[in-house]
Symmetry: C2
Subunit: 205 residues, 2 copies
DNA sequence: TGGAATCAGTGACTATTGTCACAACTACAA
DNA sequence: TTGTAGTTGTGACAATAGTCACTGATTCCA
């Protein structure tokens, strides 16, 4: 509950109180699917602890769009809810997480009543948009080896460990490529001393 | 001026009046650069007539992000202005255009005073975000020939003509690839009867 | 203690895209 | 007319990535 207070601290006290009254928190175990493509959105999540992965999928291939870290929200939910459109993306808990759920009808009301809250959403839109831009630039301008290494380093930073428990298949799927390709690249990166592969984890150097 | 009224018609009368008082319009001839990467943003443009192209650039390579059509705004400007950050993208007028310029300091005020206007910006954010998602999916999942054809068809729809005056080099640059590749692909698409190349334009069939 | 499943490694091959070098053709201005 | 710049066509080649077919490991239950 202290976490929540801290996260909302930039908002006005009246709004904070309303949010606390109208919202609920939910514990989400690792690997739970939170949102799937085509689903209608009824709540807007704000992550309090843990890590949520948002990705796009097309014919078995996936592409990681972004992670939602604590204090962040899923702007795709917000967007989808505004227009009452189904979601275009998937969301899965990467770690055991706790999320604060804001009911969309209340949020719509709050945006009128407490213009402050708009800044919060604008910030999030910005953040995500910038991340997508970065992703696009990577896709277009970087070779796969750079993308793989970047992905692992990012993930290492996010999870706060240098020892990543992740399979080649999963890396491949998050980057939208094939498993064998990842195997090859990881061996190359290992030879170049960027990382070290152990039996059941990858160590970032 | 009638165009402006129509575009703003969803907003409250008081807001419309303020906008008309505080904003200016500008005529932008085709090919004028409107915004470059790293530049600070002082006005938020809303396109009244014409067509603006927004793209990202990296070491000579470009990638088309989206077109701003009449009634639409450049949300990247808005984003940049909110955080007082420099722009991450470029914008160029594709056709002779007229744009309505909202001063950023006024806009900040309006978002507090007239919560209505937030919907307008949220809509735009949404639109752009979806477009970026589409772009990413194309990049990741489609081959270049599909992308080239899609690009030309999109452009044909936007400009309202089946006869596109555009060089191979420009197509290549908008898709982030090389000129020779576009030449090859256009020949293939021509053989497949998707289009026809004439001496100084491309006809979409 | 056997499968069964998942994971990782590898060679061979193909497909796609990017790069280079060069030729040929406008179009337009000096 | 003659440059000069911009455009397009093309063949050859290289680099990158994706696919296929298998082989061994490892894990994990039941």
């Amino acid at each position: 509950m202290n976490d929540i207070k801290r996260i909302l601290s930039k908002l006005s006290p009246a709004l904070i109180q309303e949010i606390e009254e109208e919202s609920s928190t939910m514990d989400v175990p690792s690997n739970t699917e939170i949102l799937r493509e085509g689903q209608y959105v009824k709540v807007i999540p704000i992550v309090i602890t843990g890590l949520i992965k948002v990705f796009s999928r097309y014919e078995e291939k996936e592409l990681l769009l972004y992670y939602i870290k604590p204090e962040e929200s899923c702007i795709m939910s917000f967007a989808a809810s505004l227009n009452n459109e189904p979601s275009k993306v998937f969301a899965v808990a990467e770690e055991d997480s706790t999320v604060l759920l804001l009911p969309v009808d209340k949020v719509a009301k709050w945006t009128k009543q407490f213009p402050d809250i708009n800044n919060l959403f604008y910030q999030q839109y910005n953040l995500r948009y910038s991340e997508l831009l970065t992703t696009i630039n990577h896709l277009l301008f970087n070779k796969l080896d750079v993308r793989v290494l970047g992905f692992l380093q990012e993930r290492s930073k996010l999870t706060g460990t240098k020892e990543l428990k992740i399979s080649h298949r999963q890396i491949a799927s998050e980057l939208g490529t094939a498993r064998e390709v990842v195997s090859r690249i990881l061996k190359k990166l290992e030879a170049e001393n960027h990382l070290k592969q152990h039996s059941n984890y990858i160590e970032i150097l």
